[in-house]
Structures are given as C-alpha cells and as structure tokens.
C-alpha cells in the first residue's frame, strides 16, 4: 500500500514536471511575532460559522432539485457529513492535511489535535490561535465531500455512502489539501495559487463527482421521464445561503480582518452577481426566457470560479471571470452532459469542476501582485509561467482525484454495494434509507 502510494505520488510529480515546471520557492510571508490579534480571531471564527452554513445551504440547493421522495436523503447525506467529518477532522483529518509532513501528506503528528493549541502557528496564520485555523479548515473539509453528492443523488445506499465519504475525505481530500496548502506540500512549493480552494475543493470534488456518476450509472426511467426539480424555492434558498456563506469561505481565507479580506469579499460578490446575470442572459437569448433555476445556478458557478482567485485578482477581472464561467458551465450542463449521457444528476461536475478549472486557470491569467504581494503575477501581468503552474496543479489534482476516487468507490462497492436496489430506488431514499417522509399528503 505504502509502496503503491509512493509510485502514484512519483508519477504525479513527474506529470507536473512534464508540464514544464521546476519547483520555485513560494514566497511565504514571514510572520511577525506570534501574538493573537482579537479582530483577526473574531473574523476567522465568524467566517468558520459562515462556511459551516454553506453545507446546509448546499443541502437545500441540491434537495430542491431532486424528486420529493429523495429530499431527506440529500439533507441527511449533507448533515451526516457535518457530523462525520467534524469528528474525523479533529481526530486525524487535520493532521493528515496540515501537519508538517512529507510532500504527499501531513502524517499523524497532530493526531487528536495533539500540539494544535491556542497559540498562533505562523506557517499558516500568524495572528490567530492555531485551533481557529484548524476549525476554519474543518468547514472546508466538510463541504468538499458534500459537493460530490450531486452526482450520485437519488440512488446511493446510505451505509455505503458513509464509508465512501470517510475514505474519500481521508485518502483524497487530505492529500490534495496538503499538496496545495500544507507546509511541505509539493504544489505549494511549486507556487500554485489557490486562495480559497478552487483546486482543493471544487476541482477535487467535481472530478470525484464525474467518476461516481460514471461508475454508479444512470437513475432508472430517465428515458421516459426526466425528473423536474420538486422545489425551486428550496434551490433559491440554498443558493442564497451558499452566497452568504461564501463570504466566509473566500474573505475568511485571508485569515485576518484586513484589506485582502475586503478584496476577496468584493470580488466574490461581484463574480457571483456577474455570473448570475450572465446565465440569465444566455437563457434569455437561447431559450427565450431567463429561469430562476438557471440564475441561481449561475450565481453558484460564479462563486466557484472566483474561489481560487479571490485573494489575487481585482474587481474587473472578477466581472470577466463571473461572466465567462456561466458560458462554460452552461455548455457543460446543456451540451456536454447530454452528448456523453452520464447522469451527473445535479451537475456537481458541470458546475464545480468546470467552474473550478476556469477559476484556477483564470487565476493564472489575472493574478496581480498589486492585489496581493504574497501571490504572483499572472499571464496578463507579464508572467506566463504562473499560468503553466496553475495548469499543472489542475492536471495533477484531476488525475489523482480521478484514480483514487475510482479505487475507493470500487472497494466499497465490492464490500457493501453502492447502489440501492431497483425497488428502493423507485420508492425513494427517504422511506427506504431513513424510514421517514418529508411531506404529508392530507394532514
């Protein structure tokens, strides 16, 4: 197993090398004396709560899209991830992701938060307690696997789902998170920019979504009856909660209540708005009427795309990033998905992976040291190399997440079976997996 891991890891490093990169040292800002700053700490704690709220928000966003016999299945999957990964994270997830280990992952030095105290850990954040950074990152670890749910909605067995998510968080999220953000992570050393998780969160989860949608297969009876979303207001509620929580996701990623946080806040709102507008316009021109569902999806796509760029780009690039992400995601969900026929039921791949890739590459185009001196200049600011670094980070993440997600899926499928039986699928996950119903008929 360990040997396999090293072989795989070596192959990924080689892949990064082929893309024309040599490791460049990441200009890590030397932190000042480790004194806890009250404002910064308050900001990061508030942002942690905001990011937590994104997962229930996502649950409603996805829950509104499924048929009414499956909404509790979606809400429960999201909610159990909050419970499961919160515990996994403090026991060993945080250590695997962020402890100063090798290039692959962090190891078990900080198991059970051993050594993760209330003093700042300056390699990550110099002015807030280490545990504040830890709990902020916990919320990212929670929402990332929750994003995948959209791909296999309405047909996965709950028991297998829990095991799958635990393994995925441990063997896919933790390593990728370490590469990009952890001390010693090889993509971080290479200089890949990912402000708030375009690569770690969205591409990673989006690729896992594609893999699971391909392997689990289509839902039953799609050819007769493409199911319509059962509750559009829930989708809008979910999108609004995501937008609100995303301020914590992006502006909180500056890890201080400072100008960079303000920049991230402003470009996040701008990109989301531009993308919602853009999606509505595309539908208007193409289908004759703009839809609520489309506009809400567009806003979420905009939030995805600005995530890696939020701390590195200024406001005009944010408008461009937002406007274009809706074009790419619209094509992905209305042209590419039907063409290839995979059942990415709620477009986890089409929005998060496609939007995430565009965001990561756009960071390589529009990043500017004028916005963030600790970042880098992108292609349009005279540094084409940054674009190649971004491309390499995207490629490495896609390859790793694709392979390991596939392996985890197959292992759990072999041991427990991933898909519910045909009758259970037709009856719905609410009743068959949880013995509950969301709605009554008469009373």
């Amino acid at each position: 197993m360990k040997k396999l891991r090293h072989v795989l890891f070596g192959a990924l490093v080689a892949l990064a090398g082929i893309l024309g990169l040599s490791a460049t040292s990441f200009a890590q800002e030397a932190a000042a004396a480790p004194v806890v700053n009250a404002g910064d700490t308050a900001w990061v704690l508030i942002c942690s709560a905001l990011v937590l709220l994104m997962t229930p928000g996502l649950a409603f966003f996805y829950g509104g899209m499924v048929r009414k016999k499956n909404i509790l299945g979606i809400l429960m999957q999201c909610f159990i991830i909050i419970c499961l990964i919160s515990v996994q994270w403090v026991l060993f997830g945080y250590s695997l992701s962020f402890a100063p280990g090798d290039g692959f992952w962090g190891g078990l030095k900080w198991i059970g938060l051993n050594g993760v105290g209330l003093e700042p850990y300056t390699d990550y954040a110099g002015t807030i307690p280490h545990q504040a950074f830890m709990i902020f990152q916990a919320m990212f670890a929670i929402i990332t696997p929750a994003l995948i749910i959209g791909a296999f909605a309405e047909r996965m067995k709950f028991s297998s789902f829990v095991i799958f998510i635990l393994l995925w968080a441990t063997f896919v999220y933790a390593p990728v998170c370490h590469w990009v953000w952890g001390v010693g992570g090889f993509l971080r050393k290479m200089g890949a920019l990912d402000f708030a998780g375009g690569t770690v969160v969205h591409i990673n989860a989006g690729i896992a979504a594609l893999v699971t949608a391909l392997v689990i297969g289509k839902r039953k009876n799609l050819e007769h009856n493409m199911p319509a979303p059962h509750n559009l207001p829930f989708i809008v509620l979910g999108a609004a909660l995501l937008w609100f929580g995303w301020f914590g996701f992006n502006a909180g990623s500056s890890l201080a209540a400072n100008g960079l946080a303000v920049n991230a806040f402003v470009v996040t709102n701008t990109a989301a708005a531009a993308a919602g507008l853009s999606w509505a316009l595309i539908e208007w021109f193409k289908n004759g009427k703009p839809t609520m569902f489309g506009t809400a999806s567009g806003a979420v796509a905009g939030l995805v795309a600005i995530t890696p760029a939020a701390g590195f780009v200024s406001v005009v690039p944010a408008v461009i990033i937002g406007m274009l992400v809706s074009v790419f995601c619209f094509i992905a969900v209305t042209v590419i998905k039907p063409r290839f026929g995979y059942d990415d039921s709620l477009d986890a791949f089409g929005v998060h992976c496609v939007g995430g890739i565009w965001g990561a590459l756009a960071t390589g185009l529009f990043a500017s040291k004028a916005v963030n001196p600790a970042g880098a200049d992108g292609l349009f600011f005279g540094n084409p190399k940054q674009f190649m670094i971004q491309l390499a980070a995207v490629a490495v993440t896609i390859v790793y997440s694709f392979i390991v997600t596939f392996v985890i899926y197959k292992v759990v499928d072999l041991l427990m079976g991933m898909r519910v039986g045909e009758k259970e699928e037709l009856m719905g996950l609410d009743l068959t997996q949880h013995h509950e119903r969301a709605y009554t008929v008469i009373e």
Binding site: K423, E436, R437, V441
Partner: protein, 136 residues
C-alpha cells in the same frame, strides 16, 4: 294562451345507454406509486394514451408501513397510492386491464386493485363531441 311555453324539446338526441352500439367504460386503478412508470410504459405499448393520475391515500389488506420519527414507531398509517383513471371504449377495456396488471403486479400484498365502471357519457369540451368519438 300564447303565454304557454311550447312543450320542452328535450336535449338534442343522446342515445340512452341501452341504445348504444359502442359502450364506454371507466377504468380506475389503484397501484403502488413506484410502479407508475412501469404501468405508464405498458399502457403506451397497448396504445392507451389518455390517463389521469392522482396521488391518494388508503389501505386495504396491507396495513400501512412503519415510519420512524426520532425513534418513535408509527404504524398503521394510510399508504400512499396512485390512482389512475382511464376512460375507454369497450374494445380497449381488456388491453387496458392487461397493461395495468403487467406493469403493476409484483405478487405481494399491496399491488392494488382495478375497478371497471360503466361510463354514461363523455364530452370533449373543445368541440362538444359526445360519446365514443370524444373518448380517444
């Protein structure tokens, strides 16, 4: 005397039920909700395309499912069923029944029932057509 109304002309000639050459039936079926797609597919196969579907509650021999709310079991709830209403001319009755059975039968309690009723008349609102021409 002219004030007296002329004798009522009566409604334009509707043949009474026994006078008709083509009879109509209303087929009502109560089926398991998860079998709706299968039944629809079978009905299309049998060239029966006009159906009305509603969600209903009820129970027959199958005495409700058990649902659990925060650990408290609730039994004997009314079950969700789907009710189909299909109006057909007589020659379509048997194919309709066969299609419903083919789609809905699992062999377990709770598969449902089919009721066949005589249908007095059928009027297409758009054209005022009546009787068996209006049904299809």
């Amino acid at each position: 005397m002219e004030l007296l109304a002329p004798p009522l002309a009566g409604p334009p000639s509707i043949k009474t039920y026994s006078e008709r050459e083509v009879y109509m039936k209303l087929v009502i079926a109560i089926i398991q909700p998860y079998k709706l797609e299968d039944v629809k597919a079978e009905l299309y196969q049998a060239d029966v395309n006009l159906i009305t579907v509603s969600e209903v509650l009820g129970h027959g021999r199958q005495m409700g499912v058990t649902e659990v709310y925060r650990g408290a079991k609730e039994t004997g709830n009314l079950l969700r069923k789907i009710r189909l209403e299909i109006a057909v001319n007589d020659n379509y009755v048997e194919p309709t029944i066969k299609a419903i059975i083919k789609g809905a039968k699992t062999g377990e309690t709770g598969d449902g029932k089919i009721f066949v009723l005589s249908l007095e008349d059928c009027i297409r609102i758009r054209t005022n057509e009546k009787g068996s021409v209006a049904i299809g």
